[in-house]
């Protein structure tokens, strides 16, 4: 009897344990000796993890007052959750890398973070907002014009294609519009060059968020959430319906394969299974390492009859946020570290090694001058897509509860592709359910 009773008591208590989300897990220790330690939590894996460690080490060696310790804290959602838990337990790290989806949540948490522009000014470090690529800086700037976080690794959506498969199918150039794309996909299928003409990673980011900016159309009202917290989704529009209809049609005809919600499409492309692919520009390194065929990169296709298209695509990736409640000396060290990170040389090196965007115009110029883009054709596509002047409709998508909204978009798309609802219903459901999330966010946000 004993054991059973223990079990049942434990069972429902465990339910609450799951809910007891935040128990703290910070390890930020006191500074050792004269050197002030700065904790940097991040989510970079593999080669990029090595790069981060090298950056931290090089900065620490470049002077004797501060030491930056880079700590890998799991995936983006994991490190963000841990940083928040640590903050609530009074143990926050100094710097945390937060993905773009979490931006609105961080922005709404005034008091928990220190605006990067204020940090630099207080510490007397040089900081020029206009040095940054507008589409990048604009994303992390409040509507009052203050830059809140430090742009670090930004990517955007691009189109990759398998040149070998294209040759086999008799296609001589990358499709520029969606109608050229459809023709190319049909050719690939018919010629047997590949049984999977096209797949994508991040369906919501590529096919709704970036798609809308690319066509200079709003994804959500209030300039995609930039103008106020009262934003609501605007996807129940003919342009989105047209695109969803096409995706459904292509999926039915075997031209488009839905791979999953995040990066599942990446491997389908570099394994050679799918001939065309849309995904993050930062997948470049991975594709280059793994693909056993000749591949090309080009801009996202667009609908040529839509006015204002192509405009620019939106950013993904992450930025660095500084947490509140630290000492003046520590903030000085963080400011110095950001100064180090924003030098054109470091920026250019990071861009060239990772496939992330150059964040300052100087870094772009430096990379161009070095002849990197000629040696690595296609690596400038993402930059070209981003470096144009943005419009109010194309600065990006910055909505609260974005994690849930993306889930909702994906769920409704999945139900549509499985044939359980038509595109119009799918979009209407996205709007209805997404708006519920936005209303909830509006109530708790502080600005």
């Amino acid at each position: 009897m004993n054991r059973r009773q223990g079990r049942s008591a434990a069972s429902w208590a465990r339910a609450s344990l799951v809910a007891m989300t935040l128990a703290g897990g910070a390890l930020a220790g006191p500074p050792a000796g004269a050197v002030t330690e700065i904790q940097w939590w991040h989510s970079m894996t593999g080669a990029n993890n090595d790069r981060i460690n090298s950056l931290a080490e090089r900065f620490s060696k470049s002077q004797s007052d501060y030491k930056v310790t880079a700590v890998y804290k799991g995936s983006y959602p994991e490190s963000m959750t841990q940083a928040i838990a640590a903050y609530r337990a009074g143990n926050a790290p100094h710097i945390v890398q937060v993905f773009e989806v979490g931006t609105a949540t961080m922005m709404a948490a005034k008091g928990a973070i220190v605006p990067v522009e204020k940090l630099m000014k207080d510490a007397g470090e040089k900081f020029d907002r206009s040095a940054y690529v507008p589409a990048v800086a604009g994303y992390y700037t409040t509507r009052k014009g203050e830059m809140l976080s430090f742009p670090f690794n930004s990517s955007t959506t691009v189109f990759y294609y398998n040149r070998d498969a294209f040759k086999k199918a008799g296609i001589d150039k990358a499709p520029e519009t969606w109608s050229e794309f459809a023709a190319a996909a049909a050719k690939i299928k018919a010629s047997g060059a590949s049984s999977c003409p096209y797949t994508t990673s991040w369906p919501s980011w590529v096919h709704l968020e970036s798609f809308s900016a690319w066509h200079n159309t709003l994804f959500a009202t209030e300039n995609n959430g930039f103008a106020s917290l009262k934003a609501r989704l605007a996807v129940d529009k003919p342009l989105f319906e047209r695109h969803m209809k096409n995706l459904l049609e292509w999926s039915k005809n075997g031209l488009f394969t839905y791979a999953g919600r995040t990066t599942e499409g990446d491997s389908k492309f570099y394994s050679g299974e799918c001939a065309m692919f849309t995904g993050s520009s930062a997948t470049y390194g991975n594709i280059k390492r793994n693909a056993k065929f000749d591949f090309g990169i080009s801009k996202l296709p667009y609908y040529s009859d839509v006015e204002g298209a192509p405009q620019n695509t939106v950013i993904g990736g992450a930025s660095l946020w500084v947490m509140s409640g630290k000492s003046k000396d520590e903030y000085k060290g963080i400011a110095k570290f950001f100064g180090f990170l924003s030098s054109p040389e470091i920026q250019a090196e990071w861009h060239q090694a990772t496939g992330y965007l150059p964040l300052t115009i100087a870094a772009y110029e430096l990379t161009k001058k070095s002849g990197f883009y000629e040696k690595n054709p296609g690596t400038d596509v993402a930059v070209q897509q981003m470096i144009v002047k943005t419009t109010d409709k194309s600065r990006g998508v910055r909505l609260g509860n974005m994690v849930q909204i993306r889930d909702i978009v994906h769920e409704e798309m999945e139900a549509m592709l499985a044939g359980r609802q038509d595109p119009k219903t799918a979009l209407a459901n996205m709007k209805r359910r997404g708006d519920e999330q936005l209303v909830r966010f509006e109530r708790t946000a502080r600005e």
């Binding site: 069972s11 429902w12 339910a15 809910a19 928040i84 903050y87 409704e412 999945e414």
Partner: protein, 290 residues
């Protein structure tokens, strides 16, 4: 006096265990109750009392109600299939065959595998394009694509969850079988009972305490310990087809940082499990013969 004449010693001996239960079970449970009536931003800076609104919101959401249905299907499938299979395996492993030790050891191995790894393992086998099982299935005319097909996604997580739990059930069933007196089985044989008759009329009733214990444990397992498998294998998709209640608690709380909503869900889960446990002890246990 709680401890009467026995004095302080029993209290002192119980104290460590009670402290653990209080700190790790009751305190979080109370926290969940408390947080379920508030909404707050992720950083806990703005705390607003909203009464039962979080619950109202949940029950007005047809997708949350759908999640109950998914959980029911999943839990019943995992418990029923898991118990049946492991009983069959234990029954056969109990017979004195050559290499019984090897089989028994092998059958216990999956229990040592972490749930997330179990999920990934099955995902590899069933990957729509690269997986070996989906390749075989295609050979026999089944188009396996759990990325879009909700029913197949459900099968996948049930298989993974059952596989993970089979060894645990197996150990208990095996122990139960070995404690059945040989004399009873011999008596049944003398009376002319066949293998099936012996099993049904002698073995199964004698196993009932074990079966009942495993039933409780497996229901709890299906409700709570499977979210890592769901997270690794399907992420609740496609279109919520595999979003069981506990996964939704985890997803809304840890990934989406909606603490009020997540707390409300865990309170509901607590009530469900409490109710289930009461039902099991009240009605099912009556049929158990110790």
């Amino acid at each position: 006096m709680l401890f009467g004449a026995a004095g302080w010693l029993p209290a002192a001996l119980l104290a460590p265990q009670l402290a653990i239960v209080l700190v790790f079970f009751y305190w979080p449970a109370l926290q969940a109750l408390f947080q379920s009536v508030f909404i707050q931003d992720a950083f806990g800076g703005s705390l607003q009392f909203v009464g039962l609104e979080n619950f109202q919101y949940l029950f007005s959401d047809e997708l949350y109600l759908y999640s109950f249905q998914v959980t029911a299907v999943f839990s019943i499938a995992v418990t029923a299939i898991g118990l049946t299979l492991s009983l069959a395996l234990a029954y056969f492993a109990d017979r004195a065959i050559r290499g019984a030790y090897v089989f028994r050891t092998l059958l216990i191995v999956p229990y040592a595998v972490a749930p997330a790894i179990a999920g990934v393992l099955w995902i590899f086998l069933f990957n729509p394009t690269l997986g070996i099982v989906s390749h075989w299935l295609r050979g026999v005319g089944v188009d396996w694509n759990h990325v879009l097909n909700g029913g197949q996604a459900m099968i996948l997580i049930v298989v993974a969850a059952v596989w993970k739990q089979i060894s645990y059930n197996f150990i208990f069933f095996l122990a139960g079988l070995q404690s059945i007196p040989k004399s009873l089985l011999e008596a049944a044989a003398i009376d002319g009972a066949g293998a099936w008759r012996t099993f049904r009329s002698v073995i199964f009733p004698l196993l009932s305490p074990t079966t009942f214990f495993l039933l409780v444990v497996n229901v709890v397992y299906a409700f709570f310990d499977t979210f890592a498998i769901v997270d690794a294998a399907t992420g609740g998709g496609p279109a919520k087809a595999t979003e069981i209640l506990v996964y939704k608690v985890f997803n809304d709380g840890f990934k989406a940082l909606d603490i009020g909503g997540s707390a409300a869900q865990s309170v509901i889960l607590m009530i469900i499990v409490l109710a289930l446990t009461v039902i099991q002890f009240r009605y099912v246990e009556r049929r158990v013969r110790y």
